[in-house]
Every structure is written in structure tokens, then in C-alpha cells.
Symmetry: D3
Subunit: 264 residues, 6 copies
């Protein structure tokens, strides 16, 4: 059950309305990484969650994001209001000006309607937490860019508040994931095929125009990796073995066949 209190979680102040900035701000109201996306992603995950402790976490943060949505909407509304009054301002976002009368709606900065396609919800708790960590990282960087383009001190303060909270949430989701104490890279129940899982396929080859070569780093070298060159001759398909009797250990032959001599 939800309650609304007629106070913002963070009181906003706009010294100088700026319709074009208000338009940018819509990115965090009705945009892909905005507050509605966050509120819905966590709250719906919470609805599906069967771990009561982490369900509470999801509802806590999902609810806070609703309060953030209200803050961003209030800010954007203040900046967009002049759109109704002057043709020059209306040109910044005709959809807001003409269809919305200078009010906010759940569109992004380019007038695209918010869509649930933005959400990442799988019903698998550890997977969802990873999606949330990434979502918070995205929201943080978007707020930072808004701050960089903002001239109004009152607005900047509110954005700083919101940006900070994203890091808070990122930390909370990270700790919740860690507390599940699952082995690294273990997702779900079916095991990946041993051997094959450690092969790094070098699929982009050659020397780049600025002299790039095939880069090596912890993501493809060292003990846990086998570096496999892209096939260099036509016909290098991988046949499914004729008598592959059981899941989950297929295709060990595959792994060996394509192993590069460069592997270490």
C-alpha cells in the first residue's frame, strides 16, 4: 500500500527557468534511465521476489525512486512552464508546448514515450540485482551530465541530491548481491560447459587504423583463459558431435579443436 505526503523528499528551488534545460531534464523523468524506470524496475522485482529480506530492500528503494520521480517532475515543470508563453521557448520541445501546455509528461528529452521495454526484470534475484547495479551506475552518470549542463544553482543542488542517492542504491544492491554468497559467475542452475567457458574467441582481428592490435588483458589472458583465434580458413564450422549423450557437458571436442597455439 502506498501513501503520498504533500511534501517533496527534497525541496526544490529554481532561480532561473530554462526551458531547454527542462527538456534535457525529462531524460530523468520519462527517459530510459530515469526515475520511473528505476521505481518500476525495483518495485516490480520486489513484487516477484520470494526472499523477504531482499524484497524489503527492493521495495524500500523502489519507493524512494517514486519520491525522486516527483522531485524531477517538479523541477522539470518549473523549467518548462515558460514554453506555454513564448513561441521561442516552445520550439525547444513542441510536444511539451503544444500537446502538454508546458507541463511534464512521461517522455524523454526527444519526445519518445516511456516504455516498459526499458525495464530489466527476470525474476531471478541475483540477476535482477546485477541489472539494478548497472541501472544505478547509468542514472548516476546521466545526473552528472545534467549537472554539467546546468546553470541554475538551485537545480544543481537538487540534482546533486538525486545523483548521490543513486550511488547509495548502487552500494545497497551490491551488498545485497554479495550477501547471497554465490560463487563468481554462477547464474541459475545449469552449469556451463567446462573448457568451452574459458575460451576467449578473438573475433575482431587485424590492425586498427590507429595502430590498434589484438589487445590482451585480464579479460583474455592468464590462467583462467584460453585465447582462441578466429578461424582463418573457410569451412571452420563446428559440427555438433554425432553422439552427444547428455546435457550439461557437451562440446568438449569443440573447445580443443579451435584452441589457439597462442593460448597460455
Amino acid at each position: 500500500m502506498y501513501h503520498h505526503i504533500k511534501k517533496l523528499m527534497y525541496t526544490v528551488r529554481v532561480d532561473q527557468p530554462d526551458p531547454r534545460f527542462g527538456n534535457m531534464l525529462l531524460e530523468q523523468f520519462g527517459g530510459a534511465n530515469g526515475e520511473l524506470a528505476a521505481a518500476m524496475q525495483y518495485s516490480v522485482q520486489g513484487l516477484n521476489c520470494e526472499d523477504p529480506a531482499r524484497k524489503d530492500l527492493l521495495m524500500d528503494i523502489g519507493t524512494e525512486e517514486l519520491s525522486h520521480l516527483e522531485i524531477v517532475g517538479t523541477l522539470a515543470r518549473m523549467h518548462l512552464k515558460p514554453m506555454k508563453l513564448a513561441r521561442e521557448h516552445a520550439e525547444a520541445d513542441p510536444l511539451v508546448a503544444i500537446a502538454g501546455g508546458g507541463g511534464v509528461n512521461l517522455f524523454n528529452s526527444m519526445g519518445s514515450a516511456w516504455t516498459a521495454d526499458y525495464l530489466k526484470i527476470t525474476g531471478e534475484l541475483d540477476v535482477d540485482l546485477r541489472s539494478n547495479i548497472a541501472a544505478e551506475a547509468r542514472a548516476k552518470i546521466v545526473y552528472e551530465r545534467l549537472i554539467d549542463f546546468c546553470d541554475d544553482p538551485g537545480t544543481k543542488e537538487a540534482l546533486q541530491f538525486l545523483m548521490t542517492r543513486e550511488i547509495t542504491h548502487m552500494k545497497a544492491f551490491t551488498r545485497a548481491l554479495e550477501s547471497l554468497d554465490k560463487p563468481e559467475f554462477s547464474i541459475g542452475k545449469i552449469k556451463p560447459t567446462p573448457g568451452l567457458v574459458d575460451q576467449y574467441f578473438n573475433e575482431s582481428t587485424g590492425e586498427g587504423e590507429d595502430g590498434e592490435i589484438d589487445a590482451r588483458g585480464p579479460w583474455n589472458e592468464g590462467e583462467e583463459w584460453q585465447f582462441v583465434d578466429a578461424p582463418d580458413d573457410v569451412g571452420d564450422g563446428v559440427e555438433s558431435p554425432p553422439s552427444q549423450p547428455e546435457i550439461p557437458t557437451p562440446t568438449p571436442a569443440f573447445a580443443k579443436k579451435r584452441a589457439s597455439s597462442r593460448n597460455r
Copy 2:
């Protein structure tokens, strides 16, 4: 520059076509967490990336996902083909049957067209890598569910191959993120507000219907956290201080005002 070789990366075998399973499989062809989404997310991130080593990583994996797209499409095509022949099969997915003649198209299992709204691309490398780690975790669990619903041995082998590779990629993206060697929870350049960033807001309160209480765990207790109760009286807004001279240290007053006595 791309080349195509007339061999699948993993040769597929379908013993018994199953149109309803073929329909489910479209989730990984034209769905939100499918192979086109993966291919495009990493390749476009690669295009924007200015770190040559990790750009190579993004292009390697982005390209491999294109080859996976081809594998999934081939599999789905084999399973969907009977749709053209029998009304009973056509009912599993009339869009495939009527508009597509039993061929694949970039729709998901419920006929929704693939959209770039599925992609998470910010142009900030460490943020993008987090989005990719989450994307691979999602893809893994989706393949696992497909395997669980699949009766055909040949198809299961191919899905096992694809599922394994997602873990490989998850590992590579994780190592690449670690190798950036950034402090934990440090995203972008603007610092979060100290104090405020460590406050956990308890926004979902009360006792749940199955006896849930406000859960505590590493995500909201311990040295790095201050547990803050939701305001219990109307009027508990947060005023922006009248003379907040500079970013990034606003609202310290806020943090204190709402600090719960339960904090440890």
C-alpha cells in the same frame, strides 16, 4: 569491416521440429535479452569507445554475438517451418505464420518487434561494462529456461553452447571492469555528497502479511550505513538550505535531520 562465412559457429541439429518451442526461442533472436540486443549493445559501445584495448574486447564479443544470432535464427527457423503447413501450428504465432510464411523475423516470443530501447549504452566505459555484465547474466538465465522447456536433444546441445558462451562473456566483462581499477562505487567525476550517500532510507515499513518485518542486512547495516526511518509525521520535507554555496557538498543538514536512532 565484417565478413560472413557460410558455416555456423556451432552446427545445429533439430531432430523434431516443435513450432511452439520455436516461438519461445524467438525470445533469444528478437527479444529484449537476445542475441541481436547483445550484438548491438557491445558493437555500438565499441564504436564509441576510446580505450583501444577494451574497444577490441567489445568488438570481439559483439561480433561473436552476431554469429550466435545466426545460430539461434537457424534453430528457430527449423522449429517454426511447420507453421506454414498446418493451421494448428500457425496458431502458435500467427505473425510468424501469416506475415512471415513460417520464417523468422526480429520479434520476440509474443510478436513484439525488436527495439533499440532494449540497449543500454552510455558512452562511459565502466558504466557500459556493468550493463554488459548484467546483460550476460540475463541471457544466461533465459537460455537455461529454454533448455528446461526443450525436448529436442539437438536443440538442447546448441542452447548449452550458447548459454556457456554468455558466462564466458560475463567473465570477460567482469575482468575488464576490474582492470580499470577504479574505487568501488566511483562513477564519473562528480563526487556524491558525503554522509548522505551512506544513509539507507527505510521507505517500505510495517509488518508484511507473512510476518515480514523491516529487514536488516549488509545492504543497510554495519559501519558503512546509517539507517534512516521514513518520516513518521506529515511535513517532513527536506528544505534546500538558503545559502548552499557549492556543489558537491550540499544538504549535510538533511542527513542529520532524518538520522534514525536505530542507526549503528
Copy 3:
């Protein structure tokens, strides 16, 4: 500011989970006339509203709809859960089964993602209230159809609760519109062109296949109407008068030119 309480506004009970009914129920979770649409339409209108009394009304009902969203989501989750377990159930909605693991997401009963294109928000209070009255009427009839297709007593009770509340809201929005005390058919500030505004154009002519003729009723006959036949000769365009000096009284000539003798 929003708070969440760990109790549903209406406790739900599902005696017999029914995945295909759960799928239908998604219509009111992530569908065009569902609870998220209602919650967002009223809350965002409230954000834009400058009449404090009716803004409070919009926030009251917008918040109640959020609590309804939680109820519907909980119900749907209970009905959809078996999707994860049996292939037969999964076929009812492969998107829920495969991508969502049997959990809810903001899609409708055919798997289309919720979109803010469903919302009707103009920033003009009396117009928005009319949109809300219509929205509540639609939500009521959708709940009625769900009840008609529902076999589970517990679910029926919850739907009856939700359906009833839509009528409550319809009544409240109607009273709020009436209390604005505006003349009938007066929208905004610019007056419609007198004369022209009372002309009913008979644009669909002839005798229908079941004997329908051009119907007359209070919507096109009586003192307030002038019934105008569709032009019966080629060339019957309406020229803009050469010296139309001022808005808002253009085209009076137009009205006379096409007046039908059948007018009463």
C-alpha cells in the same frame, strides 16, 4: 513524497492458480487501461496542476491507483507462477515464462510493453478531468470482463473491490469537473465560430445493408443543430473567404452555403 507499507490495500486470496487467467489479468497491470496508466495519468496531471484543491484530488486518486497496481500485480503473480514449472502453462505467455521466470512485468495480455502513449495529459484541468472520467469508465468495463472470465472466488472478490473503486473515482472526477462550473462545451479560451459550431455534417450516407438509414437523434436534430448534407456534387469545396479579417468569427459564409433544407 511516497511511503510504502508492507500490506496490500486489499488482501488477496487465490484458491486455484490459473496461468491463462493470470495472463488476461496483465491487461490491468501493464495494459492500456490498467492501474499503472491510471496512477501515472493522475499523478502527472497532479504535478502539473495549479489548482491546489483539485491537485490534492489528483494525488489522492493517483496514489490509490499505485496501491491497486500492487494488488493486481500480486494477484497476477499468483496466477502466473505455475508458468515456470510446466511447458503447457508456459505456452500461455512465453514472454512471462521465458524472460520473466513466471513473474509479472509491465506488459499487457499480449506481451506489449506498457507505454506512456496510453496517457492523456494536456495540462488543462477541465480537459484532463474529462480524460479521467473516460479512463475510469474504461477501467470499470475491463474489470467486469475479467470477472466474467474468472473462475476463482478469491480473485473475483479482489476484482470486485478494484472495479468498485473505479466507479468511486469516476464519481469524484465528475464532481470535480462540475465544480469548475464552466459553461457546457466551453474548452480553453478561443471561442468556436458561431453557426459553424452547430452544423452536423452528414458524412456517411446511403442505406445500410441491414436497412440503416441516416439516423437522426438528439446528436443532430433539434433546436441546437443544423443538419448539413454531405456535398452531392463534385467541386463542393469550401473556399476560404478572401478577406477574413479576424479570429474568432471566420467562415460564416461556409455555414450557410452547405445548410441542408432538411434542417429543422
Copy 4:
């Protein structure tokens, strides 16, 4: 069956093409409340309608809106045409300029493609008429805003014509709804739960930042209303009564339990 006559219903005149205004005008061509939306909403409702008299009404107005679509498209085309010729104009709407060569297409003022998600069609006549009344009110206010931003006299006249017709249609739909002679707030066949239906839930509480308090008005006070405060203690869920024998009279206990003493 439809016929087209090579004359506009209202001949348009553009004295000074204005590409940025042309862009705004697209809101009524391919936008959410535009002429295609109106034409399709009423015509498809007409197709479903089994009341021959009101079906004729729906087809009359649906057809007139098609003629309006042609007028708006012609006007927009005249304003947008210079986009092809000058880079400066093309920047107003690159989609029109680059993809469309300065011609119109069914996009709104921000380049979003028209979608049937804009339509409100339920197949329940009185509900559909309410949706239409609201749609006409929205279309009226959008035309008014376009007139406010328009500098061209010829264009203003055409917009005045179109705006006037929306009020005509609003009146016709209202009279048609009234002529159905249904009791107020009676939608469909299943009755709302007595008692519960008259409860107004005060879900947004507290004192607003500009001193707003919980507002009272005809929408929540008087004989037909029972004003119910939001639950003030955690745990105030509503249990579904254990033996709720029949629809449609559930939860009378609920109504009493939460009734506020402030009720009058």
C-alpha cells in the same frame, strides 16, 4: 465504402511558410490527439457498434475527421516544404527533411510515429462515447495552442475551422451519450459494492509546501461521500473476509472499518 473528392473540405491558404510551425502542426496530423487518431477511433468504434443510429453518428464524424486529416496534412506540407531547400530549415525536423524530403508523414511534432496505442476503443458504446468526448476536448485545446503560436492569417483561419468542428463533435457525442439515458455512473452490468463505492480515500496527506491542506469539495464531501483517512498505523491492511459468499456485494466490513470520524 469511401469516396474521395479532389477538393479540401476547407480550402487552405498559407501566406508565409514557417517550417518550425509546420513541425508543430504535425501534432494534429500524426500526433496523439490528432486527426488520424480521431478518424480511426470513431470509425473503428463504428465498425464494432451494434446500435445502428449511433453507429451512423460514429461513421459521420469518423469520416469528417478523415477530411480534416487531409486539411491538416495540406497545411503542414505547405509549411514544411522549405525544409528541403535550406539546411537551417531542415534542422527544425531532420526526420521530415532527410527521410521525407520536406513532405509530411504520420509523425508527431517530435518525430514519434503514430501508434494505435493512442486509441481508446472498448466496444462498450457508452464508454466509447465518454472517451470521444474527452478526445474532442483535447483536440480543441491543442488547436487553440497552435493558433496561439501561429503568425500566418490563412493558417489561423483553417485552424479556427478545425477547432470549431471539435466542439461540434464534442456536443454531438455528449448528446448521444445522454440519449442512452443510463443512470449516472452506471457502466456495464456488474454493480459496484454498495458503501465502498461512496468512500473517498484520502491518500495524499499533510500540508503542502505552499500551505495546501487536504482539500474538500463536492468530489469528497456531502451526502454522497464518506471521507476515509489514509490508514495512520502500519498494518492497516484489509483482509478479505473468510466467507465472502457472493459477488457483487463483498467487503461491506471494509467500508466500515476505515470510515473516518471526519465523514459527514
Copy 5:
């Protein structure tokens, strides 16, 4: 200006309603290659067209498609109507059953809302005619597939009528394109680069799993073609010549550099 006549262009008869077939039929009502798409594509092209003769053609056919839309909608409505009455039928398309009460709406067979993204409109007459020829070919094959899955004689007759008309339109658009009398492959005004334009790039190489080799045919061999192998060594990029003084004859070097000796 449009008129509607209360008769279908082709009177329909449905002997045995079949909700699942009705659902398939929606593909031609609100689907990608359906009648609304056709009506809008040609009519909007007509609106933009400055060649009066072919503008008339576009309006003739655009209008006929509107009449077809009405036929398909009437047919689909007849087949879908039982959805309202039986849960079993409703499961064929819950969106139609629950949200639409068994009536049609502008969705396709999988419930996706019609979108103007289906349309191909460039404002270049010869290009648009090519898009229309292809559109008619697609519509024809879709009607054929519907006929193949249809058991009802009355419905089949109507579909045969509609299917035939698509071929009529395909012929008309083809003759209109031919009558423009433009050189083959001449589009717009800027000439393609000579030499380069005749090079066929062999980008998919190797031997396919069923023994496919690089196929040759009139599309890549003969006098008008130069067959160019994909680069066989890493580093085969194409440098932009340092002093490429003018459009439209750049990159002749490119053509030679990659010319294959297999060219004839």
C-alpha cells in the same frame, strides 16, 4: 474530402465464425502489410505529390484501400465476436476479448498496435512507387496465406476479392513507374561513382554446410558486373585518397584495388 457510404465495397458473408481465424485476419486490419498501412502510405504520398496525374492515382488507390480496411474490419469483427462469450475463445486473443469486448482494434494478430513505422514515404515519386509495388506484393502473399488457413467459404470469397485488388494495384503502380520513363537504376540527381557501382562484393564466403559455394548469377556476373572478393588479409581497409577534389567521382582507386581476377 472524403465521403462514406453505408455499404461495403464487397458484401461479406461469414458462415461459421472462427475466433482464431479472426485473430489471424487482424494481420490485414492493423498489421504491417494490412489495409490501413496501404491506405495511409498511398494517401500521404498523394498529399505530398506534385505530379497531378500520379497524385490522382495515389488518391484513387489510397481511397480504395480505406474501403478494403472496412471490409476486413467487418469480417474480423464477425469472426471475433464469440470471444466475448466464451473463455475458451477469449484465450485466442485476450487483448481483443478483455480490452475490446470482442471488437476489432488496430492491432495485428499478435496484439501489437499499428504504427506509422510500417509506412515507406520519401516524397520522391519514383522511389515511393517502388515502395508501393513491393507493398502490394506483400499484401498479396499475406492474403494468400490467410486463404490457405481459412475454412469458411464466405470469408474465402471476400479474401479472394481483396487479394485480386492488390495485384490490380501492383500493376497500376508498375505502369505509373514505367511511365516516368527514367533510366534503369537512376534515383535522384546525384550520380553514383562509376566503376564502383558495378562492383559486386563477395562478402559471404566459404562452402555452406549443404555444399553451397559462392553462387554466381545475373546479379554478379556478366558484362555489367565486376566480381570482387572479400579481402583475404587483415588490414585491407580502403583509405580515402588524400586529395579527393570533387563529388561525384571519388574512390576510383578503390575499385581497382579490390578487383578480383575472377572478374569477367
Copy 6:
């Protein structure tokens, strides 16, 4: 199987970055007629194709379009990069600037996400080839318009290269279609109804405002055509004959009934 080579197919050079032009360029990256649309349309058609020779053609060109996507993306990235740095530039496309940090993403010039609804894939080879011919014609004209609005010589060269290749592909698809050697206007297997197929319906009548009359040309006159006037009296529907025994020769009566005396 796909490989990526770290060289562009055509090396690009940008002398003067121009963010507003970069924004226009996105039309060919993530737009309706852009390179991703081309790559996916042909490659997915190839996946479905059972004619090995023309499947190879589809894969050859589909793969080349992927390389073009990379070129356009690289060009756009170069032009858009300054968006991150200056508020003035960011206003050209706030979505790119704020959400994307100045990097490309799969959106068009107005920020709409790429969607598979752009694709035309039917699984019928000759139909698909027609769709491809039209697609290439559209892509050509879009590149031409971009060249017209481009000031940067390096960018113009690259666009000239890409534009030329579209004509190459148009030629190849045309030759492949011709080589199928099917009779003109023969699509699929079911024959259109003789007689009816040759009737041109004059559905847009009257004299246009600039003196247009009903135009005649090879698309509606001559031996292969019967010119049929729109019905001039109400009631001119076409009854389905009572005993229409078999497909595919229905409705011959229809053809005669409406034949115009103007037919030649």
C-alpha cells in the same frame, strides 16, 4: 559465422565536426531506411531463404551493410562528439548528449529507437526481392539529401561511397528478381480473379483546386485496363453471389456491373 576486421571498409575523414549534421546522419545509422535496417532485412531474409544461390546474394549484401553501419556510425560519432563538451551543441540532440555522452546509439535523427517494424520480410523470395529494391531506392535518396546538407568534404566522400553501393545493391536485387523468370504480376500460387484484376477503380473524383481532373495514363487506360467509375448512387455495394462455388474465380458479376462506359 561473422568476423570483424579492425579496418573500416571505407576510411572516413572528418575535417570539421558538425553536431547538427551528425544528428541528421543518425537517420542512416538507426533510422527507418538506414544501414541496420538494410543489414537485418537482407540477413534475416537470407536465413529464411531456401534457394542457395540467392541466399548467398542476400548474405553478401546483408554483410556489406553491416560494414556500412560501422562506417556511418564512425562518421556520426566524429560529428557528435562535441555534444559532450558544449551546452549549445547538446541542444541539437539532448538524448545523444545526456544519455549517450556524445556517442552514437541506434536512434534516428529525432531520437526514435530503431525498431524491427522497419523491416519487410515475408519469406517469399520474389516478394522480398521487391521489398529490397524499394529499400535500396529509399536509402539512395536519403544519402543524396544528406550530401545536399553536408559541408564537410571528407564526410561527403564517404556518403558518396555509401550512396553508390545502394545503387549497386539495387541492381543486384533487380537482376536476381528477373532471373527468377516469373510472369509479370504473378505473386504466390493463388490466381487473382480474372476481369476484376484489370479494373481500375476511379475512387478520387472531381476537379482539383488547381484544375486537376481525373487523370488517365498507362496505369488506368489501354488494352489491359477497364476504367470503372466510383459508384454514383447510394446503394452501390457489391453483393457476394449466393452460390459462389469455388475459389479462384469469384465475383465475375461484380466486374461487369461497375464497368464504366469510358472504358477503352
